[in-house]
């Protein structure tokens, strides 16, 4: 007697449907089959299961089948999975260093998260990712080794979301065949995407996260499309994967990347984030505090960071420095989602770190002087020149040298980083379901901390990635913010040993 195969929940559900409803489901899956005909069988089955899970979720939440089919329509996949993977993308000038400097214990990553007002439904998030990835062909890739440079090769596959089970910003496994350079994780009400910097900078990553969240919210709350805004409803344009460094390079004298070594905070270094701390601040209260000192939010936070850093080191002399990345799209209208950021380094002599007003004045003048288009052009020119110079040297030789140089110099020319992504906007119909966002940097080598800021609505999240067992810097930041009457809530992680 043959053993009867156990019915899946979806098969049981199908049995409860009438003839017409069954036909509708069959049509949905035949559209799906067509829409992903170029995927390997294993991936097609996974994709089908994602659709089944969402239909079951809709049934459990009392949504009619007609409505459910409208929201999960296979049209949302476009023709992306029906076409072979022919595209490839050379890395932009800034991204070229990241795979070369890659080590099994170090990878330049960053993480963007959105905190929703309700818990995340994994099945819906999975389908939202399937719908999102088609809009970002540059992300649906795998890193490959060329003879002279690495590059990104298109790889159409089933991209999975998973429950958070690793310390944030630890290396993404990209070695195996077809592995993506990003990962999507969820925990409670948080959706996070971690990116290997080779794919994009904070701006590009944020477009991806916003699209993912919008797709998720659309499925979760059955929202209407917002064609005016929605990235995923538009077709990718060529400029989104351009090497903007090359395009906007000017014939100016190059600025060097070498600089004086900065004083580092003390504390035993750890090669993975030891703790994450998020100060979720009221944006108005933060702005008011900055305006009381006639400063921008960035200059104000930099001043607080310098004061906090001074208390986190025993070194009595020398200069502390903070790296401040600058979005080059501010100067050039590039639609690129690749890396297109440069940075300025704000320096302060330890002796001069004391009075906040003097500090802010000095920081503001340094920011005005260093953050000019002309200075950034000079940095772009040096990055491009450097890449141009190395282009005919075989990758294996470049890797051997770059690993040593990157390991030796690395981030030693600055003591900390402040990356301010600025305000993130979404249409009201989506924004009302989102509580806040955060941005975490995972690029520390020598630095004992990296800081970042992102605002969403009236919530600004200042995050500290602590790379040391010494809590001095974070503690000092907390007491400074309290003293300055900035309203905040402190969230974070346990200690990761």
């Amino acid at each position: 007697m043959s053993k009867k195969k156990k019915q899946t929940s979806f098969e049981q559900y199908i049995e409860t449907l009438n003839e017409e409803q069954r036909r509708e489901i069959e049509n949905l899956f035949s559209d799906l089959e067509q829409s992903c005909c170029h995927l390997p069988k294993k991936d097609r089955l996974l994709l089908r299961r994602d659709f089944e899970n969402v239909l079951l979720w809709y049934r459990d939440n009392n949504l009619s089948l007609d409505q459910a089919i409208h929201y999960v329509s296979a049209n949302n996949l476009g023709g992306f999975f029906a076409r072979p993977s022919l595209l490839w993308f050379p890395l932009d000038d800034a991204a070229k260093i990241y795979p070369i400097a890659l080590k099994s214990s170090f990878m330049a990553t960053f993480r963007l998260s959105a905190y929703l007002k309700d818990s995340v439904e994994p099945g819906l998030l999975q389908l939202a990712l399937n719908f999102t990835v088609k809009r970002f062909p540059h992300f649906a890739t795998t890193l490959k080794k060329g003879f002279f440079w690495h590059y990104l090769n298109a790889r159409k596959r089933h991209y999975s979301v998973s429950k958070e089970d690793r310390i944030p910003c630890t290396p993404i496994r990209i070695a195996s065949s077809g592995a993506p350079a990003f990962r999507v994780v969820y925990f409670n009400n948080r959706i996070s995407v971690e990116f290997f910097h080779v794919l994009c900078d904070g701006y590009g990553g944020m477009q991806f996260l916003k699209s993912l969240v919008v797709n998720y919210l659309r499925l979760r709350y059955q929202l209407a499309d917002d064609e005016a805004w929605d990235y995923t409803l538009q077709t990718p344009v060529a400029g989104e994967s351009e090497n903007a460094f090359e395009k906007y390079r000017k014939r100016v004298s190059a600025a060097g990347f070498m600089d004086k070594l900065a004083v580092q905070m003390n504390g035993k270094p750890v090669n993975h984030p030891y703790r994450l701390i998020h100060f979720k601040m009221n944006t108005n209260s933060l702005k008011e505090a900055a305006h009381r000192h006639n400063a921008t939010v960035t200059a104000y936070l930099l001043a607080l960071m310098f004061i906090a850093q001074k208390g986190a080191t025993d070194v009595q002399s020398g200069e502390m420095a903070i790296q401040v990345p600058l979005n080059m799209r501010k100067f050039y209208p590039s639609p690129t989602l690749n890396n297109f950021s440069m940075y300025m380094i704000i320096r302060e002599n330890i002796d001069n770190i004391g009075d906040i007003s003097d500090l802010i004045e000095n920081i503001t003048s340094q920011m005005k002087e260093k953050g000019t288009e002309k200075n950034m052009d000079r940095m772009v020119a040096s990055a491009s020149r450097f890449v141009h110079m190395l282009r005919y040297i075989p990758l294996s030789m470049k890797t051997a040298v770059a690993r040593q140089v990157y390991g030796f110099l690395g981030d030693k020319v600055f003591s900390n980083t402040l990356s301010n992504l600025g305000p993130v906007n979404l249409p009201d119909q989506y924004a009302k379901y989102i509580e806040s966002m955060d941005f975490v940097l995972g690029t520390g080598i020598t630095n004992r901390a990296c800081c970042s800021l992102v605002s969403f609505g009236n919530s600004s999240t200042f995050s500290i990635t602590q790379y040391t067992t010494d809590p001095s810097f974070a503690t000092a930041m907390e007491s400074l913010l309290s003293k300055e009457n900035v309203e905040f809530v402190k969230e974070g992680s346990p200690l990761w040993k």
């Binding site: 050379p90 002279f148 590059y151 310390i167 065949s177 925990f187 998020h278 974070g492």
Partner: protein
């Protein structure tokens, strides 16, 4: 101020333990290699420690510092063949002269054959990985053209077989992949 934990408990830094183990093994192996060099210098010729050092390098390369980008079966076989050839050349130069030119073409032919079979079994999956094998085949074809004129006896025979296997594999790759093969070459050798 009280801090709210918004991360799961017991998150792990996966791979950290493995990294530490790897580093300890590396240290032990390289110390062993250094010791063998010191002993060899004190005992004089033959320079057997060269084989020890090259072998440690090969273990380091293959087992203790695995590929971080693009790890695949074909790449693994090519790495294995190139490492084996390196050890064989060192043995040939230091301990027992004359047979390496006979063995290396056999190792290379075997590797090319294995890679070609892997490719033919999973053309779609391996088409982006076959470049490493194509490079080895190209090198073997050139070595055959040079070696066939200069070598004599059994070395000439195995070199001839290796050259034929290599050339045949190149023909297979080109005819199966057609434009994809040249597209792949363009990607692999891009300089922009």
């Amino acid at each position: 101020m009280e801090m709210k934990n918004v991360y799961p408990d017991n998150l792990k830094n996966k791979g950290r333990g493995l990294n530490i183990t790897r580093k300890v093994f590396m240290l032990i192996l390289w110390l062993g290699a250094l010791a063998s060099v010191i002993v060899n210098i004190s005992t004089g010729k033959p320079w057997w420690s060269a084989v020890a050092v090259v072998s440690v390098f090969v273990i380091h390369r293959l087992l203790l510092s695995p590929q971080l980008v693009e790890r695949n079966l074909i790449g693994l076989f090519i790495n294995l063949a190139s490492s084996a050839s390196l050890v064989l050349i060192t043995i040939g130069l230091t301990l027992s002269e004359g047979w390496d030119l006979f063995v290396i073409p056999i190792v290379c032919s075997g590797t090319i054959l294995v890679c070609t079979v892997l490719f033919l079994f999973d053309t779609e999956g391996q088409k982006n990985s076959v470049h490493a094998s194509a490079v080895l085949s190209f090198i073997c074809t050139v070595a055959f053209l040079v070696g066939f004129l200069k070598l004599e006896g059994r070395e000439k025979l195995v070199m001839g077989i290796c050259g034929l296997v290599a050339a045949a594999s190149l023909v297979v790759y080109c005819s199966v992949l057609r434009t994809d093969f040249f597209r792949e070459l363009r990607r692999r050798f891009h300089v922009e």
